[in-house]
Amino acid sequence: MAKPKIATTSLAGCFGCHMSILDIDERILQLVELVDFDKSPINDIKEFTGECLVGIVEGGCANEENVRVLQDFRKHCKILISLGDCAISGGLPAMRNTIPLQECLDEAYLNGPSVHNPSGRIPNDPEIPLLLDRVYPCHEVVKMDYHLPGCPPSADTIWQALVALLTDKPMELPYDLFKYD
């Protein structure tokens, strides 16, 4: 029987949650016994090669590219996990949610105290994905099946959750692993 497949992605996140995945250290050897990795920055597979059992999503949706990737994950993965506070609540990037988009861009590229931008232009290359009006938690865009809080969730949290999922056990975190920071 073929091993189930896992995909991962980082949307509007800092890759910290992916670092935490890697922090499972030598247990990654056990993990590859249990699963194959499909689309993921860990193996640099850019597009889905087939259907996955689990999709792990770091980061919320800040731009159209994030939305497209998230929808793609929903399409290809049976179970989707919001990994970390950004996926769950928008996280730090969502601090811009209380500020109009134009003001955010002006501050970032024109008015900010550390900005040096003699051209006075806000980057607008056609390749740059358009920003959303605000940062959206993943579950407000597609249906998410599980949430693993933390900034980042610890390696133990991720490990325990994955093992529970892959062995059909209920995903229950011990108190010590339950953190929002």
């Binding site: 969502a94 949430h147 809080p149 229950e172 108190y175 010590d176 929002y180």
Partner: protein, 237 residues
């Protein structure tokens, strides 16, 4: 037991209280934890957060305000009440802008600790991301971050009843209700001092002392290992 002892039940367990005591007070003594946010020992009961909602003889009441009475049957740890309480915690999370990941109060925050205790991985309600919550950093030793305020009035009561000052009070109403300070604009223009009780009692990170953030490492903070309420539950005979 003397004549003034009042006997009643919480979830079928016999509990004793005194005349004038609240259900919460008697439960604490008995080692039964009733979750709470606005209630704080030494401050008059306020009854605003509603996290301590219990059922008394079939009627919903806040345990922090409801006095004990002979023979009452109190429900506390039921699926129905746990669901209602969880909903209130969720409401408070989505109502404000709570960024636990960088909040100085994280690990010592009672709202966060309740969410941990209830095992909330994500709120069931959509985030509101209110844009009208500002930060008042005018005071040299203390700041107010309205993004995190849960309107529990602990600061209002502590300033009035313990500090004898009246630095804080609510303004506005409904979803627009806010904590205001006793000056035209800024905390700096009030007589608040860093040693005031009002500064200490905030359950969340809305009123914090400056210059002392992040001093306790992760792993040693109040709620890192034991759920909120464990101290009360340790009283259980």
């Amino acid at each position: 037991m003397n004549d003034t002892t009042i006997t009643f039940e919480i979830d079928g367990i016999e509990v004793h209280g005194r005349e004038g005591q609240t259900i919460m007070g008697a439960a604490d003594t008995a080692g039964i934890y009733i979750p709470r946010l606005c209630a704080f020992e030494g401050l008059p009961a306020f009854g605003s957060c509603r996290v301590c909602t219990v059922k008394v003889n079939g009627r919903f009441q806040s345990a922090c305000t409801q006095p004990v009475a002979e023979g009452i049957m109190v429900e506390n740890d039921t699926d129905e009440l746990l669901e209602f309480r969880r909903n209130i915690i969720d409401m408070l999370f989505v109502e404000g802008n709570h960024y636990c990941m960088f909040c100085e109060k994280s690990g010592n925050c009672e709202l966060q600790a309740l969410a941990y205790r209830f095992g909330i991985t994500a709120p069931k309600y959509p985030y509101m991301f209110p844009a009208d919550r500002n930060v008042d950093a005018s005071h040299k030793d203390v700041f107010i971050d309205h993004n995190r305020c849960i309107l529990c009035a602990r600061c209002v009561r502590a300033s009035r009843d313990l500090d004898g000052k009246n630095v804080f009070q609510f303004v506005g109403r409904g979803p627009g209700k806010r904590i205001a300070v006793n000056s035209r604009a800024n905390l700096a223009d009030t007589d608040l001092e860093v040693t005031d009780k009002a500064v200490e009692v905030c359950p969340v990170g809305a009123i914090l002392r400056k210059h002392v953030g992040y001093t306790v490492p992760i792993g040693q903070r109040t709620y890192d290992h034991e759920p909120i309420g464990s101290d009360i539950e340790a009283n259980k005979q």
